[in-house]
Symmetry: C2
Subunit: 148 residues, 2 copies
DNA sequence: CCGATTACTTGACATCCTCAATCATCGAGG
DNA sequence: CCTCGATGATTGAGGATGTCAAGTAATCGG
């Protein structure tokens, strides 16, 4: 708040930042789990569905989820049994099965997105400049394709 | 980068922010899982251990982890079998069992913290002013005691 | 055509997680 | 003191998640 002194704040170390980041991540995933649970889905099922904004092969899902490919088989099995997504053979490579959302699945994803945004009111309280700043800092600290 | 126009950036909507936040959270938890896995621990086991900076009853752990109390029984069972923590009866209330880290457990927690910080290099690349800014924005968007 | 690699599946097995039920203990009211 | 309701922890059943090893099918490079 003091704009005259050169040291406006004690300068947070990486440890404190990590703790805040952990808190933010926990809030996000907790909200996600609650919202997904409201539709009879687990957190990981909701996450898988929300990755399918465009169709992709099982292998890509496994990498994005950071888990074994055999695990994705079971996840997709259960979601396919509920009619939220389906497998489609890839004509270019018959080993590959492309996974895509059904209309029901799209509805579920839209509902999840909407409810999560509503469940994290802190993000909406930020002003335009603050959102720009946060977006830019997050993009810098977690560049796409890094650590993932 | 253009400081003359009033609209310096397109102003990121809450949806984009959410996506970036999801990415940041995923990076954090992926790093956490990798680091914990390096010590033969699962993500949730590492999380439980890192909550024990001071001893607390099983019930408190269940609430912090956001899971059923019966689940904590199993988690603590396995970690106790490895000698990373132990149960201690509470003399004031004999229903309560206080959980605390063993020296080995403290070593494990310190190692996890150190490796996670090292595994998220993006945070260290930020300058002092940027860290202050990020810390303040995160603190505003995810106030303590909210959503958790 | 052959061998190596890749995509997906299967089966075995450990862990995570919730629910319902149980036991022991605490606290308040008779 | 003694019962009654509430609370902390555990147990057992059952489903979901996750890894690993093995197997099948298809692609790719020689």
């Amino acid at each position: 708040m003091n704009s005259t002194a050169p040291t406006t704040a004690p300068a947070p170390g990486p440890e404190l930042l990590m703790e805040q980041l952990a808190h933010a991540a926990a809030c996000y995933y907790r909200s996600f789990a609650v919202v997904a649970g409201g539709q009879g889905l687990t957190l990981i099922q909701g996450k898988l569905l929300s990755l399918l904004s465009r169709p992709m092969p099982m292998r890509a899902l496994a990498e994005l989820l950071g888990c074994d490919a055999s695990n994705v088989t079971g996840l997709v099995d259960r979601l396919e049994a509920r009619g939220l997504l389906r497998r489609e053979p890839d004509p270019a490579d018959r080993r590959v099965k492309t996974v895509l959302l059904t209309p029901e699945g799209e509805v579920a994803v839209r509902r999840i997105r909407a409810e999560i945004t509503a469940g994290l009111p802190g993000l909406e309280q930020l002003g335009d400049a603050e959102r720009r700043s946060l977006s830019e800092l997050l993009g810098r600290a977690f560049p796409h394709g890094a650590g993932a």
